[in-house]
């Protein structure tokens, strides 16, 4: 699912609420039928800023989740060799095979973002939270990342929550799109994207997608005008 809406409508805050990173001031958040009380532990997150650790190689960046899980006695961290294999395989899936020993500063923005996505997925979280992860990339790289993300989705079972400003991105990746309004930050509209998976970029220029994008754009504009 995806959340779109004007700036300041609380999309990022919503993600933090879901992850349990900030407590709700009122009401409650349920994930997987359970009340969220503190930070969830089976979540992957990726942001606009890839925030890799510059002193670690690509591989060691992907081993960071493993180190934390193992220290905490988590069963998802069986042994280092196995995790390493997972990291190598995942890097190959995102087109970064052989980049294990490179340093983050040697990579382009798109490549770093892919590593960041790998780090969010390597522990096979049930929930993947994406906060405008492709916003800082150029248009072509961004479209590549959409396709890549779709491939990853089709490989694995996880719930993805995407926050974005890009309506085409939302239409390409999501089954359900929530349009949020600002002041107060509420869900104003819900749309189902009926295009079957796997989707192609060409479909974004088809009648159905174009119609939906136009509709959502008008909805967001009207919520903005109401507050202005």
């Amino acid at each position: 699912m995806a959340f779109v809406g004007p700036s300041g409508c609380g999309k990022s805050t919503l993600l933090k609420l879901i992850a349990g990173l900030v407590p709700a001031t009122s009401g409650s958040v349920m994930v997987d039928g359970r009340l969220v009380r503190g930070p969830l532990k089976n979540v992957g997150m990726a942001f606009q800023n890839p925030v890799l650790l510059p002193w670690r190689s690509v591989l060691n960046n992907l081993l960071l989740p493993f180190e934390i899980l193992r220290e905490n006695g988590d069963s998802r961290a069986p042994d280092r060799a196995l995790w390493r294999e997972k990291a190598v395989a995942l890097l190959r899936t995102v087109g970064l095979g052989g980049a294990e020993d490179r340093q983050p500063r040697e990579l382009s923005g798109g490549m770093r973002q892919r590593v960041s996505l790998c780090r969010a997925l390597i522990h096979e979280p049930a929930l993947l939270l994406l906060d405008e992860p492709f916003a800082a990339l150029d248009a072509f790289t961004r479209e590549e990342m959409w396709e890549l993300h779709q491939t990853l989705r089709l490989h694995r079972e996880f719930t993805g929550v995407l926050v974005t400003h890009d309506l085409r991105e939302a239409v390409f990746l999501a089954q359900t799109i929530y349009v949020m309004s600002t002041n107060p930050g509420r869900i104003a509209h819900v749309h189902q994207v009926t295009l079957p998976f796997p989707r192609t970029l060409d479909q974004l220029y088809g009648a159905e997608a174009t119609e939906l994008i136009r509709l959502m754009r008008d909805q967001i504009r009207s919520t903005r005008e109401r507050t202005a």
């Binding site: 992850a19 969830l40 650790l53 989740p65 180190e67 780090r119 979280p125």
Partner: protein, 248 residues
Amino acid sequence: MTRRIALPFLVFVVLLLVWELAVPLFRIQQIVLPAPSGVAGTMMRTAGPIAFHARHTLVTTLIGFGAAVALGLLLGFAIGASATVHDALYPLLVGFNSIPKAAVVPLLVMWFGIGAVPAVLTAFLLAFFPIAVNVSVGLATLESELRDVLRVLGASRWQIFRKVGVPRTMPLFFASLKVAISSAFVGSVISETVASNAGIGYLMAVATSDFNTRLAFGGLFVLAVLGVLLYGVFAVIERRLTGWAYTD
């Protein structure tokens, strides 16, 4: 690399030459400004005592510096990790740091007597502040996104501190060591000049009171060499350990 060593060395030699020629040319008295050759001669003749005093200053500086590193790290981590500690201590630290340390030396002498202890303490007092500030900045500027990525893995504050906070702080820490070692050096020499019976500072105080300008200049030269060496050592360590923080 050779260029970065040869070039300043060349400038230094040229300066010495100009100085050497200027002294007889303008008929400057040796007691006011001795020629470099005279300074070198005096340094050779008193090489033994100079080496003794230089070693004393070096040891004093390093002890004070070592204590400053320990306390600076501790304080820096505490200030950087906790907003409460930051708000409580930071203004006090700034106030403390703005006291000229030369003004504290007489007090230290009153408490600990003349000797190495006031010198070590002055070195320590001058050196710990830059370390503490840099370390705290390194921790406090940790990206919130990175913290979130780790927290949703179940990472504790302690784990985030160890895995991310500490390594991230290292470039700033090592950069501060270069500043701190120079400050420690200044501190111990100041204290030695006022109240000590050993060290280059003491040597210079004695030399000037004897109007032995050559020996005083010799002392200055030794101080400069020691300062550059100490700085160089920490610059190399910094480069080796935290090369990732530099973009070439």
